[in-house]
């Protein structure tokens, strides 16, 4: 077993260890054992940092990949399939090592931060335990080498998110939120599960490698519609986890959880898992599937941005911006800007975590006041927070010199290229939405900064009757609080909460990722995470057969030139029409080959898209800069120079305003349709069950009661017990027949003679005829 594998296993198990220790013994350990959690995570981060170093820095190889697996379930020699095992395994490549480092780092910082933020909570120890199990499951997703394992950890992440959202379970809102989150995720998961099933049913394996290889070999037995369906269904998992439209509704509510949790789970890592998963399955997604993904991403980005404009809760704004940014990543994957999307994943993780932790600091300082309308002027009181928060905001808005600029620009560039290649039309909607959302982002983040940090403190403006919007525990305090008191009660947070902010803010600077502040492609990240070659070609598995000749055994995400045959050679190996296709795109592929440091895409369409994406790089920069500038200017116009009064505008466009304020009414719609619907259905069925299926027990009983002959001679319970009509007839026939027993012996004799006579007639007639 490779040493890195062993290390990664250690990393994986360490948080689990922390969970086990803390869940059982937190009451017995000093400080409820928070130092254990922090210490363990520190160790984990150290190891993953080492892995990161070895993989990315030392062996600077885009194709780096090591894997290890073991048999988990052995189904023996299955008839028709042969020996069948379900394996579990670990894979380490560039992406994994980067994610590993990122997750452990943020988790470590959140642990550290929480020691300050959660201090004094009565379930302090349990909180760290939950953080531990979450980190464990997240690392599991990152490390898994097969769909089944990913699904398992996927669910576990859902569980830990459930536990953490509902950490303050006495609050009904929290309880609702956690249930909502879990169910929404489940809906996504069944889609993902079906996708997994489609692939398994064809290849009898869950392992990525074998699925890639089989698809490349064109072993997919079903029609291409199924393959596309598989892609979209798998993507549904991402829709759930990464809060994409239409399953985004749970994420804003998830803010009921402790703020550090929001930073860790609902901003940086878990929601990113969806994107990570799509990246893992990227090369088996058919173009149709990719189109769906791209559009969903674009819609999400735009919708969330529009909603974020009008929210007043500081965390909700960030939540919707998270949704929006996740939309960007998904969009990026959809348009084939693979590297860019993942790049954005990482950068976003850092600056969004920074923003959340910052907001946490603010809330902490403001005594759990979350409504931005009653904040303001915090700049003076919390300089550290202000600085870091602003830097992260700039990154989020995508201003130059920030990490966010690099990644977002790359995505948008990819979108433009994609639209070009797909032949414009409706496909231009995607970049357009992308740019528009960029502007909105800049606007609402500007708004937030201004409302929170500039101007004067507005705590005193807070009307007492608004108290239902905020914590019961504090509104009394706030209502008699005068400006003076409010102003002085606010103070900068302690070091253990400040340090994470600084670190995260530092990681939002462009220099970390790329020497060129304008082009992420020049950075190590995008070099290390190049877009892999698809194995399903243009909605045609057979196309993938180009690769089988050589590369099938070890299909790393990418295929270096050295190993891949020239297109011509490939063309000989494949059918004529695909040969023509390749030939048609020949120069594109070739030129692209030089441009991109020797990566070769056997699927011409993909090659073209990547190429066009790079071509569109500068266009994207110009447009996006303009849009962002527009957004910031608007924010200034509205909130700094007060040229436009937000209230008035809101009244002016009231329907739109309400539409945005009420989050496009998605909750209401779901409440009215899905939830209400299933509840009603359940009620109906259970009624049906007790009344109809249960043999019309009541009906039978009633009929029997009504039945003339029925006297109390028959036990009601048995009558009820008879769950069908035959029983009913049995009774009644019994009631009728027993009347024959008149008690008069002469009638008995008559009966006998009648019987004899009847039989006689019967047989006599039979005799004659």
């Amino acid at each position: 077993m490779h040493s890195l594998i062993q290390l990664s296993i250690v990393v994986l198990l360490l948080p689990l260890l922390s969970f086990i220790i803390l869940i059982f013994f937190n009451r017995r350990i000093a400080r409820n054992g928070d130092f254990i959690g922090v210490g363990i995570l520190g160790t984990a981060f150290g190891i993953s940092a080492y892995i990161f170093w070895t993989v990315i820095v030392q062996t600077y190889d885009p194709a780096f990949r090591i894997a290890w697996d073991f048999t988990w379930i052995d189904l023996g020699n299955v008839p028709g399939v042969g020996p069948l095992q379900i394996k579990m395994g670990i894979v380490i490549d560039n992406l994994t090592s980067i994610m590993l480092a990122m997750v452990t780092l943020i988790s470590l910082l959140v642990h550290l931060y929480s020691t300050g933020y959660m201090a004094g909570d009565k379930n302090y120890g349990r909180y760290f335990a939950f953080l531990g199990i979450f980190t464990f499951s997240m690392l599991g997703i990152v490390l898994s080498d097969n769909l089944f394992a990913i699904y398992i950890f996927w669910e576990l992440v859902g569980l830990s998110s459930y536990l953490l959202i509902g950490f303050f379970f006495e609050k009904d809102s929290a309880a609702d939120a956690q249930k909502k989150a879990f169910l929404a995720n489940r809906v996504g998961d069944i889609g993902m599960w079906l996708g997994i099933l489609i692939l398994y049913s064809q290849f009898h394996t869950f392992s990525f490698e074998q699925i890639y290889a089989n698809l490349a070999a064109g072993n997919f037995g079903l029609s291409n519609a199924w393959l596309t369906a598989a892609g979209i269904l798998l993507f549904m998992g991402c829709v759930g986890k990464s809060a994409q439209f239409p399953l985004h509704v749970w994420l804003p509510d998830a803010m009921e959880g402790p703020t550090p949790v929001s930073a860790l789970i609902h901003a940086a890592t878990m929601v990113a898992a969806g994107v990570y998963f799509v990246a893992r399955i990227f090369i088996i997604l058919t173009p149709d599937a990719l189109h769906v993904i791209a559009f969903i991403g674009a819609c999400t980005a735009f919708m969330a941005a529009t909603i974020a404009i009008t929210q007043n809760d500081i965390k909700r704004v960030l939540a919707y911006s998270t949704v929006s940014q996740l939309g960007y990543m998904v969009l990026g994957l959809g348009v084939g800007a693979y590297s860019a999307a993942l790049f954005h994943l990482v950068t976003h993780a850092f600056f969004k975590a920074c923003l959340f932790l910052g907001s946490g600091a603010i809330i902490h300082a403001m005594h759990h006041e979350q409504d931005m309308r009653w904040m303001g002027g915090l700049r003076k009181h919390m300089p550290w927070t202000f600085a870091t928060f602003t830097l992260a905001t700039l990154a989020l808005a995508g201003l130059p010199l920030t990490s966010g600029f690099l990644s977002k620009d790359a995505i948008l560039a990819g979108a433009i290229g994609f639209a070009k290649v797909e032949g414009g039309g409706i496909f231009y909607l995607i970049p357009v939405l992308g740019f528009f959302s960029a502007m909105l982002t800049a606007f609402y983040m500007g708004r937030q900064i201004w409302l929170v940090f500039f101007g004067d403190s507005r705590t005193h403006l807070k009307p007492a009757d608004k108290s239902h919007q905020v914590h019961h525990a504090h509104d009394t305090h706030d209502t008699h609080a005068d400006d003076h008191h409010a102003a002085h009660s606010v103070h900068e947070v302690s070091w253990n909460m400040r340090a994470p902010l600084v670190i995260l803010a530092a990681l939002s600077v462009y220099a970390v990722y790329s020497p060129d502040p304008l082009d992420g492609a020049k950075g190590w990240f995008m070099k290390m995470i190049p877009t892999p070659a698809t194995v399903v070609g243009e909605a045609n598995p057979q196309k993938g057969a180009l690769l089988t000749a050589t590369a099938a055994p070890h299909l790393a995400g990418v295929v270096p030139t050295s190993e891949v045959p020239a297109p011509a050679h490939g063309a000989t190996a494949t059918s004529t029409e695909s040969a023509a296709a390749v030939g048609g795109h020949g120069e594109a592929v070739a030129s692209h080959g030089e441009a991109k440091g020797g990566h070769l895409y056997t699927d011409p369409r993909q090659a073209e898209i990547v190429h066009a994406g790079h071509a569109a790089h500068y266009t994207a920069i110009y447009i996006s800069s303009i849009m962002v500038a527009l957004g910031i200017i608007m924010a200034f116009v509205v909130y700094v120079f007060k040229i436009i009064d937000p209230e008035k505008t809101a009244r002016l466009i009231r329907p739109l305003y309400l539409f945005s304020l009420n989050k496009w009414y998605w909750d209401e719609i779901y409440e009215a349709t899905v939830i209400r619907g299933s509840m009603v259905l359940a009620k109906i069925l259970s009624w049906f069950d007790t009344n109809i299926v249960d043999g019309m027990v009541n009906g039978v009983a009633l009929l029997v009661k009504k039945f003339a002959f029925v006297n109390d001679g028959f036990d009601r319970h048995v009558v009820d017990g008879m769950v069908n009509f035959t029983a009913f007839t049995v009774n009644t026939s019994g009631a009728v027949l027993k009347k024959l027993q008149t008690g008069k012996v002469q009638t008995y004799v008559v009966m006998v003679l009648l019987a004899v006579f009847g039989y006689f007639v019967f047989y006599f007639t039979r005799l004659i005829y």
């Binding site: 027993k738 008149t742 008690g743 008069k744 012996v745 002469q746 004799v749 003679l753």
Partner: protein, 105 residues
């Protein structure tokens, strides 16, 4: 022609059939237990006539023997029946068969 002059098997059988019918009629319709039992006797005697007639026309003694035994049985039966009926009369103060129906259904 001969049918009318000489008495043949059919006549016996007819008689016995009539007897059977009368007996059954009595059993079914009469209220008095005694009469009902007389009806039973008629039935038995109908059988007797058959036996004797057949035994005459088939040859062999079985029929005769049978008839003898039937007579004896009838006598014994009559004795038992009377005892029971008397007991009934003691209890119900009547021998109306149709009125004795306390046990039914």
């Amino acid at each position: 022609m001969e049918q009318l002059t000489t008495i043949g098997l059919n006549h016996y059988l007819t008689i016995s059939a009539f007897l059977l019918g009368f007996g059954l009629f009595a059993v079914m319709t009469r209220k008095n237990a005694i009469v009902v039992l007389m009806g039973v006797e008629l039935i038995l005697n109908a059988a007797n006539i058959n036996f004797l007639a057949f035994s005459k026309y088939n040859g062999g003694m079985e029929g005769v023997m049978f008839a003898l035994f039937v007579i004896v049985i009838a006598a014994a039966e009559a004795a038992i029946a009377l005892a029971i009926v008397i007991n009934i009369f003691k209890i119900f103060k009547s021998v109306d068969v149709s009125s004795i129906d306390s046990m039914k259904e």
